[in-house]
Symmetry: C2
Subunit: 293 residues, 2 copies
Amino acid sequence: MRLSKEQLEQFDRDGYLFFPGLFTAGEISLLAGEVPQLYARREAYNVREKDSDAVRTNFAAHMYSEPFARLARHPRMVGPVMDLFGEAVYMHQFKINGKMAFAGDVWQWHQDYGTWLNDDMMPTERAMNVAIFLDDVNEYNGPLMFIPGSHKKGVIEARHDLTTTSYPLWTVDDALIARLVERAGGKNGGIVSPKGPAGSMILFHSCLVHASSSNLSPWNRVSVYLSLCAVSNHIRRFQRPEYIAHRDFAPIECLPDDCLLKAYPVQLPWKDGVPASALQTSPVPIEEMRKAA
Amino acid sequence: MRLSKEQLEQFDRDGYLFFPGLFTAGEISLLAGEVPQLYARREAYNVREKDSDAVRTNFAAHMYSEPFARLARHPRMVGPVMDLFGEAVYMHQFKINGKMAFAGDVWQWHQDYGTWLNDDMMPTERAMNVAIFLDDVNEYNGPLMFIPGSHKKGVIEARHDLTTTSYPLWTVDDALIARLVERAGGKNGGIVSPKGPAGSMILFHSCLVHASSSNLSPWNRVSVYLSLCAVSNHIRRFQRPEYIAHRDFAPIECLPDDCLLKAYPVQLPWKDGVPASALQTSPVPIEEMRKAA
């Protein structure tokens, strides 16, 4: 899938592109069907909500689940991102975010790149967020909210929020959010939230400021969030476990377009468990580690 | 203001009526302008959010603030409620709910009548909720959500939620909410959330199941919630402080329609402070208290 000139301009202006119903119901059901048994596992890669046992985020399913390993190589997803970067990409982060019915908690306003810079020493913002809906998304089940154009601010000062929810995040302060929303149109378009059927996809800039509300509805809002990083822009520090910030910088090689429906072979390196090395972390940059070795 | 036959039928079927822009911008600004100084007071009647200093609920402003004392007697608000009950009404509860920008927390699914029955021994559901928007309400600032027709279930079993937020509430369990939403149309109308400009009003049945999400937006969503009870249906127990559940069962006497704009005289019995008697509570029904006295 290639992007049109209009789409490239829209992405530059707004910081996101929305593709409603990009994946079919048949494709999505193969992914969604896998989620309950992944969420049921008592593993470090399942982060649960602060006030309940519901899973907030599952990490790195493409390393141990066949359907998600194939999604990670899907040309409909990887193609547009390579188009935007003009370069091969690798998988920096792979999440299945729960936002489960009645239990899904808020994600405060943040930029993803802020975290990747502060924690992972990713050199520039040449990394892309991809959201793929595994459930229908409506105004009641905690949809993603964006501030259009906020990616143009580059990296924004953030504070490390360790208390609001169960997952630590570098979040943006309220006064700045208010200014960004005002600049983007205030109550006329200053916040947007793309909604659509399961199978829809959003690409959004790693500096686009986003958040999502709690889910009080009876409808799960499970989404896959992938972060694809330009290979030249790989992270420089392994301060977070490998299941959160990946360390394999090899370019993604796409499978054919029907790869969710047909059983193309894929490697599942963590099929028998997460290796101990993936849990090892270090505050020292890779380069210094190599010099010291 | 009188209700039409269609409105009466709609209320019976759906459990609510929405009146967008019922009060003018000029009328609302006189009310909204009072709120900051009311919220700033360090008084028992200001309940603050669990995780911040923002006010979640202010109680009983009509007892100590002139503009709100006049609103409590407004014919545009009281008239339709008397129409629906065919009886005089008194003020059971008067709240100014904050749902402040960035800080407003969720209200879990609940029926108001559940609380009035369990805590206040209100005999039947002949009491009406009225919401008046002091700010514009949109999909981003935590609008009220209703399950249409859920009032037909009557009183639903509930559990006393003392942990989710800072205000104790009798809340309804998740499985039942899912069934009610499905019965009301599922993803096609099973949940509704009336949105509109400041000055809009909602009337909703005291058994209508409702909730609201958190407010992550930069826009306050302050609303006045009044509960008007048919005089014959007054509460039978003073288990909660009087600023929460009022004990004066005298019928409301309406002021003229321009009462927000003109300084008609009103009594402000708590102008100089909440009397000690209003803080006294008892688990014993009024009738038994009287017998014992």
